[in-house]
Amino acid sequence: MGKVIMTADDSASVRQMVSFTLKQSGYEVVEAVDGKDALQKLSGQKVDMLITDLNMPNLDGIGLIKGARAIPTCKFIPIVMLTTESQDGKKQEGKAAGATGWIVKPFKPDQLLAVVKKVLG
């Protein structure tokens, strides 16, 4: 069974692209439309990795990372945040909240897969 990766993003097109790319490489994907939705799904289901956008309504990425790290099954999973170059400070904030790494938007499917491979081993 493939590893399960959650993509949390309020942009449907980004979710679609991430999900499409990962599924093609044999991963299973769970989609969440914002931080709140993601946290809800995380507490009900074990995922192996989380890819989250930082700017989301209801609960933003930083909040999601902090919340996820508090869930026992998510304590050590890799969490990768999607940032833009204008958010360098956010990168640090995210790392402090417990993010494993980041992907800078815009990214290509290959770059996404490289990062997933890197953190998921």
């Binding site: 097109s13 417990g98 800078v104 890197k118």
Partner: protein, 702 residues
Amino acid sequence: MSDQHRQAFKEEAYELLAELETSLLELEEAPDDMEVIGRVFRAMHTIKGSGAMFGFDDIAAFTHEVETVFDQVRNGKIAVTKNLINLTLAARDRIKAMLDASDGGGVADEAYDAEIIAGLKKLLPETDGGKSGTASVPESPLPATDLSQDDVTYRIRFTPVSDIFLNGTNPVSLLNELRQLGNCRIVAQTCAIPKLADLEPESCYVYWDIILTTSVGKNAIMDVFIFVEDDCDLKIDVIDDGGRLDTEANYKKLGEILVERGDLTSSSMGAILSQQKRFGEIAIESGLVEPDKVQSALVEQQHVKEIRQERQTQDSVSSIRVPSDKLDILVNLVGELVTVQARLSETSAGRKDPELLSIAEEVERLTTELRDNALNIRMLPIGTTFSKFKRLVRDLSLELGKEIEMTTDGAETELDKTVIERLNDPLVHLIRNSIDHGIESPDVRESTGKPRQGTVHLSAVHSGDSVLITINDDGAGLNKEAIRAKAVEKGLVTATAELSEKEIFSLIFAPGFSTAQKVTSVSGRGVGMDVVKQAIELLRGSININSQPGVGTTITVRIPLTLAIIESLLVKIGSDCFVMPLSLVEECVELTNADVQKAHGRHIANVRGQIVPYIPLRERFRIKENAPSIEQIVITQVNNQRVGFVVDHVIGEHQTVIKSLGRAYRDVKGLSGATILGDGSVALILDIPQLLHSVEMEERAA
């Protein structure tokens, strides 16, 4: 990026723009509502981020400017004014126009864009005014490919912070990533692991020393650690620059490495050095350095030594091209030398002079070495021929409308150059046969449950002083009945003859035999297999067939390694010496007059209960002298049958330098050459398979 993704983005963007419009109008009513400001910012942000990702670079660049302003609004640095709302609404319309334009409608209006942006920039506080970053310079966490070609060796010490796991980082996957960059040795430093009672399971107590030889450059190594840069102590030093400066194979001393790494102070090193023991032992004993650290330094020493040695051998490995006739001359000379050496050994053995004996022994040793080396020079891997066959298979299967794949094995197996050359034609013939007769057409294969594509497997492997070459196909196998019927039709066997499987298979080597239903351009003219067999026997080799109906056929060709010098058995009949290739000889047994009488005149011997037919060579060669009362039978294995050859005496093993008999004797059957013995006399080399064949023919005729 596929159109499907672009379309999804556009739909989303239109939605966002509609929402943006509403939000902006709301904002005009309530300029301080942070939630609405956040919504506006997020809409911009998503349009920018996704836009760039799906190739809408103009939209991304433009939206970036608007987003920057709203970032400031969000941070409370700019107030929401009527002007800002107006500009943003105008910007929103431009973004929508750009989206429309991407479908071929609408026109880009750069002047208007610039006007809006200039207006927005005026709103930015002075300090940030000039810092409008260009949109999206993609920063990639992928390893940058450095073009430096030399392998450089790095020493990396990777010390993660103890709570590295809490960030979801797995140090092992980082180490694995390093391993993929090049030749890598990793030593885990475990000295900081506390007692079990004190151990915090969520903490990382280990750090790693990594020695890595790679051509990707330091940046690529740094990239591996890009996510943990702030969560670890990373030291990367070049310890070998790929041989640009020094080429010494010896690397730094252990103490120097430890000091360089900062694991030991140089004054401590001096103290240790003043004792005259192995550095590492003392360093550990004295407690100045942990054993792990010494171990790690030793690994570094070893690693660099190895890569430097490798480099040196690479530098010195070179080859020279020599015309092959020069090699032939060399091998000939070695042959002469072997002969002379045999004489020397024989003479010295008769003289009982210890000094001469020791010289002769020395010469013998050197000659053997020289012989082996000289013959080795002529050895070539058989692979070159193999690749020619690949082409053959490809062309033939196209021509015949069959789907055939050829696999090979043992291409590196070495054989004498001449042997390889002379092996080419027989092998081509055998492969053609496999393709033409063996492998069925794709439809037939499919109906019998086999894959459409047939396989011909060619392999070469050393076996003692020979090389075994097998050609294996997964075709229909030999049809025993068809072979038998054909042989009867051609008068090769009688219709009632009882034949074993082996005997039936060997019929296909009979001259003029062919079972193909129709003659194709590939095979089927019946000149095939007997010619193949002759050619292989000329090389003093043998050929063997194994086949199973429906499963396939395996043909095994056994070829001696070299043609120039062979190990052989020296025998004597009367006053003449003969030589038999040792590879064919199985054993020697005595033949007494009583045995001959018991057999009632038939040439049959009883060897441990087994009946072995024999050929009395004295009769065959018409040697007049009287036979001794006890003769010897040399039992050989030819074409999978045991046959004895009766001689007077077996003298022993002999290194035989093969000399051809010259044109006049070329057609003599039963002799494959001659050799010069130690005493200068000539011994003839017996062609055992040929001898057997001619005797069989005579029997059949009689």
